[in-house]
C-alpha cells in the first residue's frame, strides 16, 4: 500500500508551545553542566572545554556561556552582538529570508538567543568551537538565531549539538542559522541532533560561500524525534566548494524530512552531497538533495542511499539536478534497499553470525568517511557515530 508523503512542514504551530522559561545566568553554568553532563557529551559538547577553541551553551532561552579561548575568534549571544556591532544588522536575514515561512517569522518576531561566532581575517582555529542549544523545559518553544562569519582566509570548525533534558518529551526548536564564508575562508560545521520522541525541530539555514571559500557540513541524527524538517540552502561563489554529509538513523515514529540544496552560481564552483539514511520501525524519511548549476564550469555530485530495516518504515529519496548553463556537470546516485544478502553471507564466511554480520553492515553503512575535518575532529565525529551505532 502506498503511503502518502506526510506534510510535516507546516503541520505544527508555534503557538501550541510556550515561550515562558525560567531565567538562568552564567552563575548557573557549572550547576547546569554537571546536571546535564551526559546529554551534553552525547552531542559533542564537552563541559570541560578541553581541545576546544571556544564554547557556547544555551539552556531554554538563557545563554549560560559564550567564551572564546583563541585570539581572533569571538563568541557572543547573537542579540548582544547586534547591540555591540551596528554593522551586524547587514548579516541578519540575508542568507535566510525572514518571511520564508511561519517558523522564520516566529524567530524574527520572538527570538530567544542563539550564537554569534566570528573568526577574524586569516585566523585559523586549532581546535573546534563547540555550541549547544539545550531544552530543559517541557513544551518550550526555543527560537534561536545564529550568525557565523568566517572572514577572508580564516578557518573555523564548529561542532554544534542540540538536545533536551532527559525528562523533556515534547518541545519545539526553531533555529535560524546564517553562515557567511568569505573569500578563501573555510568553515566546517558538524551538527549532532539528539532529541526526545515528541520534539519538533525546524532549522532554517542559509550559507553564502564567497570566492574560493569552502563549506563542509556534517549532520548526524541517531535518536528518535517527532519530526525534523530542514532544507538548508548554500550559495557558492566563484571557485567555492561545498560538501555535505548527512547520516540519519530514523527509528520508532520519527518523521524526518531532511535535505540540502546547493546553488552553484559562481564559475567553477563545486558541490558534493552525500546522504545515508537507515529507516526502521515506523520511521518515515524523506532524503532530499538538490544541486543547481548556473555558472560555467560548475560540477556537482549527489549521493543519496537508504537502507530499509523494516516493512513498516519508508524512505523517500529525492535527488534533483538543475542546470541552466551548457557547461555544468551534475550527476547523482540514489539507491534504496535492504541489507545485501551477499554481504551478510560474506561476513558469515569469516565466522560472524547472521545477526552480527547485519550489525556490522549497518555500522559500516553509517561509518561515512568524514572528509575535510582536522584529524582530531574527524576521529571524534567517527567515535560519536560509532557510539550511536553501537547503541542501536
Amino acid at each position: 500500500m502506498h503511503k502518502r508523503v506526510p506534510d510535516v512542514v507546516n503541520a505544527v504551530k508555534p503557538e501550541d508551545y510556550t515561550m515562558e522559561a525560567e531565567e538562568r545566568g552564567p552563575e548557573d553554568l557549572s550547576e547546569v553542566e554537571s546536571e546535564y553532563k551526559k546529554s551534553l557529551l552525547g552531542v559533542g559538547y564537552d563541559p570541560d572545554g578541553e581541545e576546544r577553541s571556544g564554547s557556547f551553551l544555551q539552556l531554554d532561552h538563557s545563554v549560560l556561556c559564550s567564551t572564546a579561548v583563541q585570539e581572533g575568534i569571538e563568541v557572543l549571544d547573537s542579540s548582544e552582538a547586534l547591540k555591540k556591532y551596528s554593522w551586524l544588522s547587514d548579516y541578519f536575514w540575508r542568507a535566510v529570508p525572514a518571511d520564508k515561512d511561519i517558523y522564520t517569522k516566529e524567530v524574527a518576531a520572538k527570538q530567544t538567543g542563539g550564537y554569534f561566532v566570528r573568526a577574524a581575517p586569516g585566523v585559523k582555529s586549532i581546535f573546534p568551537l563547540q555550541a549547544c542549544l539545550f531544552i530543559g523545559k517541557e513544551r518550550l518553544s526555543q527560537n534561536v538565531h545564529n550568525i557565523v562569519i568566517v572572514e577572508e582566509g580564516a578557518e573555523l570548525h564548529i561542532i554544534t549539538g542540540c538536545s533536551t533534558a532527559q525528562d523533556v518529551r515534547s518541545a519545539m526548536h526553531l533555529g535560524v542559522s546564517e553562515f557567511y564564508v568569505k573569500k578563501g575562508a573555510t568553515l566546517t560545521y558538524t551538527m549532532i541532533h539528539n532529541w526526545a520522541p515528541e520534539v519538533v525541530v525546524r532549522p532554517r539555514s542559509g550559507i553564502i560561500v564567497d570566492e574560493g571559500g569552502t563549506y563542509i557540513n556534517n549532520y548526524i541524527l541517531m535518536k528518535p524525534v517527532k519530526d525534523v524538517q530542514m532544507y538548508p540552502v548554500t550559495y557558492c561563489g566563484k571557485n567555492a566548494r561545498t560538501m555535505t554529509q548527512t547520516i540519519i538513523h530514523a527509528s520508532q515514529d520519527s518523521k524526518i524530512d531532511i535535505g540540502s540544496k546547493v546553488v552553484l552560481e559562481g564559475e567553477n564552483s563545486r558541490a558534493e552531497l552525500i546522504s545515508r539514511s537507515i529507516a526502521t520501525d515506523q520511521a518515515d524519511v524523506t532524503a532530499r538533495g538538490s544541486i543547481v548549476g548556473s555558472a560555467p564550469g560548475v560540477k556537482g555530485h549527489l549521493e543519496c542511499i537508504g537502507l530499509m530495516l523494516s516493512n513498516t518504515a519508508r524512505i523517500y529519496s529525492v535527488p534533483e539536478l538543475e542546470a541552466t548553463v551548457e557547461d555544468a556537470q551534475l550527476s547523482h546516485e540514489a539507491a534504496v534497499g535492504r541489507i545485501s544478502e551477499e554481504a551478510i553471507a560474506y561476513l558469515t564466511a569469516r565466522g560472524l553470525s547472521e545477526d552480527e554480520a547485519a550489525g556490522a553492515i549497518v555500522r559500516g553503512f553509517l561509518n561515512v568517511d568524514i572528509k575535510g575535518l582536522p584529524p582530531a575532529l574527524g576521529a571524534e565525529v567517527r567515535k560519536m557515530i560509532r557510539m550511536s551505532a553501537d547503541a542501536l
Binding site: Y346, G351, A360, I361, R363, G364, N367
Partner: protein, 249 residues
C-alpha cells in the same frame, strides 16, 4: 578430514549437484576442474553452508562430525575457510577490521598481527584503511582473500579460482601464500591443513603442488586421479573427453 557422500544440492530450487562424492584426507590438496556451470562454486558454497545452497540429499562430514545442518558461522568455527572469486564490496568496513574479524578480534583498531600479515601479502598500511573490496583490482582481491584466510588459519581451505585475472608477479605471491596455508612446504606427514582449489586452466598447479585432480561435469565428479595426467588430458582434449577416457580405463 572432509567426506562428502552422495550430495544433492539445490540453488534457489534448481538442482545443481546430483549425487556428488568426494573425500579429502588430512594434509591433502585437491584441484577441481570443470566448465562454467558444472557446479564447482556451488559445491564450495554448499560445503560452507550458505543458506541459498540447500542440501536435498546426502551428507557432509567434517573431521568426523556431520555438518550438513550447521550454519555457515558454525562450520567456519570448526575450521573451514574460503577465498571467494568475486567477493562483494562491504561499505564502511575497512580491510584491516575485516582481517581482525577473521581472527575473532571485533575491535575497530587494526592490530599489529594484522599489519604484519598484510605486509607479507605486500599490502601497505594505507590499503588496510580501504573499504573491503571497494575498487580493488583483480590481484588485490585475490591477495585480500588470502590475507583474510591467513588470519583465520582454517584446517580446510577452499579457494575459488585463485588464479583467474592475476598477473604473474601476483601469481607467485598468491601461490606461495596458498602453499604456506596448506603446509605444502612441510613433509607430507606434517601437513595438517587440507585444500580444495577450483581452477579453470590449472595455472595454480604451476605454483602449488597438488595431490589429486577432479573433473566436474553436470553436477557430478566425472573423473579423479593424478593431477599431471588429468590436467594434460583436459588441456589436450577438453573436459568431456577427459571424463570419457577416464571412465574407459
Amino acid at each position: 578430514m572432509l567426506e562428502i557422500e552422495n550430495l544433492n544440492l539445490e540453488v534457489d530450487g534448481r538442482p545443481v549437484l546430483k549425487g556428488l562424492d568426494l573425500i579429502i584426507e588430512k594434509g591433502e590438496c585437491h584441484v577441481l576442474l570443470g566448465p562454467n556451470g558444472s557446479g564447482k562454486t556451488s559445491l564450495l558454497l554448499g560445503i560452507l553452508g550458505f543458506p541459498r545452497y540447500r542440501v536435498t540429499g546426502g551428507r557432509i562430514v567434517f573431521n568426523g562430525e556431520d555438518i550438513t545442518n550447521l550454519t555457515t558461522a558454525e562450520r567456519v568455527k570448526l575450521g573451514i575457510g574460503i577465498a571467494f572469486q568475486n567477493p562483494p564490496v562491504i561499505r564502511g568496513i575497512r580491510l584491516g577490521e575485516m582481517v581482525n574479524l577473521c581472527r575473532g578480534d571485533k575491535s575497530g583498531d587494526i592490530s599489529d598481527e594484522t599489519r604484519i600479515l598484510a605486509k607479507e601479502l605486500h599490502f601497505t598500511e594505507e590499503f588496510l584503511e580501504r573499504d573491503v573490496n571497494a575498487g580493488f583490482s583483480g590481484g588485490e582481491i585475490k591477495r585480500s582473500e588470502i590475507l583474510q584466510l591467513m588470519a583465520q588459519n582454517p584446517d580446510f581451505v577452499m579457494l575459488d579460482e585463485p588464479d583467474s585475472g592475476v598477473d604473474i608477479e601476483n601469481m607467485e605471491l598468491v601461490g606461495g601464500m596458498i602453499s604456506k596455508l596448506l603446509h605444502r612446504r612441510e613433509r607430507p606427514s606434517r601437513r595438517t591443513a587440507s585444500g580444495l582449489i577450483i581452477t579453470h586452466l590449472a595455472t595454480i598447479t604451476d605454483y602449488v603442488d597438488v595431490d589429486w585432480a577432479h573433473v566436474m561435469l553436470g553436477g557430478r565428479i566425472g573423473c579423479s586421479g593424478n593431477p599431471d595426467q588429468i590436467i594434460r588430458q583436459v588441456t589436450e582434449g577438453g573436459y568431456e573427453k577427459c571424463i570419457k577416457e577416464c571412465q574407459m580405463s
